[in-house]
């Protein structure tokens, strides 16, 4: 035990969580992963600790899609947790990711979401960095007529931009504060990397994008994505049209550490006989029919026959294939009780016009106005409000058992437990 490390909130960008878990942050319920204490959604100290131990810790953070920055000088800004970052393609063709901050006094360098620049010229006092992040020039470095300026021994090479580790898999650009985390492909593991390749492993085209702001802790949303059990129950649109029923062939798979997951199903292999769906007891079976069924037209895009595949990459990235609606989502915390979900809606560079039209129609299923998924924008807030005054109470997650492993069938919360297993390990609680 090392009480000195209790807060763990030192401001350094060190990626290493404290060697000894700070027991004051949180006491996990004795039931283990079968319980989730409400405190994790509301406690500002936990949210602060997440910035260091999680987002600046031993994980990879999604920054952008590589197709957004095709030319030298093209840049795209984003955040890692609370830290502004910028991905930029250098004159050598390589993508680099920097903290979006001038080394002089900290002014943000790139203010726009995206653009192109020859160098980083800071707007505040005009210090100039090249695309590799080296400090190239300093306004009035020698002062004026011998007055002012920097000391003789000031070494510009010591004042470059803070560069992060960068790695690319498929269309996705990741960055990390950690020197320890293995390359993205290895960090994902073979099975998880398989689906990344499957969905974004060939040239993609961005065909839409928006940000959805939700009034709940970010973890309530990521749990929702990993909760295969709710998908066929909360989302009536899905079940009524047989898009994704719990009775279809499918599985929930979790990675070795628990944090990544895959949830998939095959709509052409549905067996409702003898389930609660076929006897009409569930709310989801009430009569409801579409006048125009073109929204539901799809083609089987993959030889594996999987029509619905949701993947999470720990802790906050989602890759979605709902029929032919493809998207990458990044979830960013905004304090304890708000988060933003950034969406990239994608197709492939070689899509036919007919395929594009199908994707456009199916885009109605997802996003803030998604016929299937709009409920997910509010369910977290509906939970958040009940947890505020009872930090010591806990949610129950025993569907599919109390442990973490891949499971056939999706009446399971194994993905949720997996998330908390890795979160606890990274957070040291």
């Amino acid at each position: 035990m090392n009480p000195a490390s209790d807060t763990g909130l030192e401001a350094s960008a060190s990626s290493a969580p404290p060697a000894t878990p700070p027991e004051t942050l949180l006491t996990w319920p004795a039931e283990g992963l079968a319980r989730i204490p409400f405190q994790v959604y509301n406690d500002p100290a936990i949210a602060d600790a997440e910035q260091q131990r999680l987002f600046r810790g031993d994980i990879w953070n999604l920054i952008c899609l590589e197709v957004e920055i095709p030319q030298p000088g093209d840049y795209r800004t984003n955040v890692i947790g609370d830290t502004p970052v910028v991905a930029i393609r250098g004159n050598d063709g390589l993508v680099r990711v920097f903290v979006n901050r001038c080394a002089h006094r900290g002014s943000m360098l790139c203010l726009d979401k995206s653009g192109n620049r020859k160098d980083f010229t800071c707007i505040y006092h005009n210090w100039v960095y090249d695309l590799e992040g080296s400090l190239q020039s300093i306004a009035f470095r020698r002062g004026i007529r011998g007055q002012g300026g920097l000391p003789e021994d000031f070494d510009p090479s010591q004042h470059g931009l803070k560069q992060l580790r960068m790695d690319i898999i498929g269309a996705l650009v990741f960055a990390s504060f950690s020197e320890k985390v293995p390359p993205v492909r290895e960090w994902l593991g073979e099975r998880m990397a398989w689906n990344v390749d499957r969905v974004v492993g060939r040239p993609v085209r961005i065909i839409g994008g928006y940000t959805q702001v939700m009034h709940n802790n970010w973890k309530l949303y990521i749990e929702n994505v990993k909760d295969a059990y709710h998908a066929g129950l909360l989302h009536l649109f899905f079940t009524r049209f047989g898009l994704n029923r719990l009775s279809m062939d499918g599985a929930v798979e979790v990675s070795e550490r628990g944090g990544h997951h895959l949830s998939w199903s095959k709509m052409h292999n549905d067996h409702t006989e003898g389930t609660e769906y076929s006897d009409g007891k569930l709310r989801s079976m009430k009569d409801f029919d579409l006048e125009d069924k073109r929204l539901l037209q799809s083609w089987v895009e993959h030889e594996d026959g999987i029509t619905h595949m949701i993947q999470t990459i720990f802790p906050n990235v989602i890759i979605q294939q709902i029929q032919n609606s493809l998207a990458v989502r990044l979830l960013v915390p905004r304090g304890t009780d708000e988060c933003e979900l950034q969406w990239w809606i994608i197709g492939y560079a070689d899509d036919t016009e007919a395929q594009m039209q199908t994707r456009i129609l199916q885009s109605n299923l997802v996003g803030p106005a998604g016929l299937v998924s709009l409920e997910d924008g509010v369910i977290g807030s509906i939970v958040q409000r009940t947890t505020l005054q009872d930090p010591n109470r806990a949610g129950v997650v025993e569907m599919g058992g109390r442990t973490v492993e891949s499971q056939k069938g999706r009446v399971s919360e194994t993905g949720v437990r997996g998330f908390w297993q890795e979160w606890r390990q990274k957070m040291g609680v």
Binding site: Q212, I360, L371, L374
Partner: protein, 176 residues
Amino acid sequence: MPILTKDNTHLLTPAFQQVITAAAALVADCVGAVDDERFDEWSTFFTDDCRYDITTREARQKGWPIGLMHCAGAAMLRDRIMSMRHANIFEAHHYRHMVSATRLAPGTDRAPEFASGVRVHTNFGVTRIMANGETTFFGSGFFDDLIVATPGGLRFHERTVVLDSSQVDTLIVVPF
């Protein structure tokens, strides 16, 4: 019919005023139906083979074909309402639109006639009022409308709701 003039003298012609007044009335009546929750009426403001989109300023600038909502035909508008009533789950709320004067779309280069379609723009702001009274400014933008004459009266043949912001609070289930 008047031709648009640089010195705005076309504004003074009765024919122009009739067109713009009729277009503005259609826009106002349609948001009135939404704000009053007369949702069965909503699709009747559109032609059967209409196109209705909710998109964003950013998506238009980038040329993205996908916005937030896309309906091809009035049947899809009715399906949206049916889904809202019978399938989707959300907290009760309604909108109040504040609309600007309706104007001819920039670039209009001939006399507006409903027979061949009139393209008009109308700015809006929308507040969202939750059942508990909490009122937030939900969004601003403009309607980009193509209005045509049909035997039943004026209808929207194309409506693009262009939101100024790419950021949506929580969800959109009630149409704009």
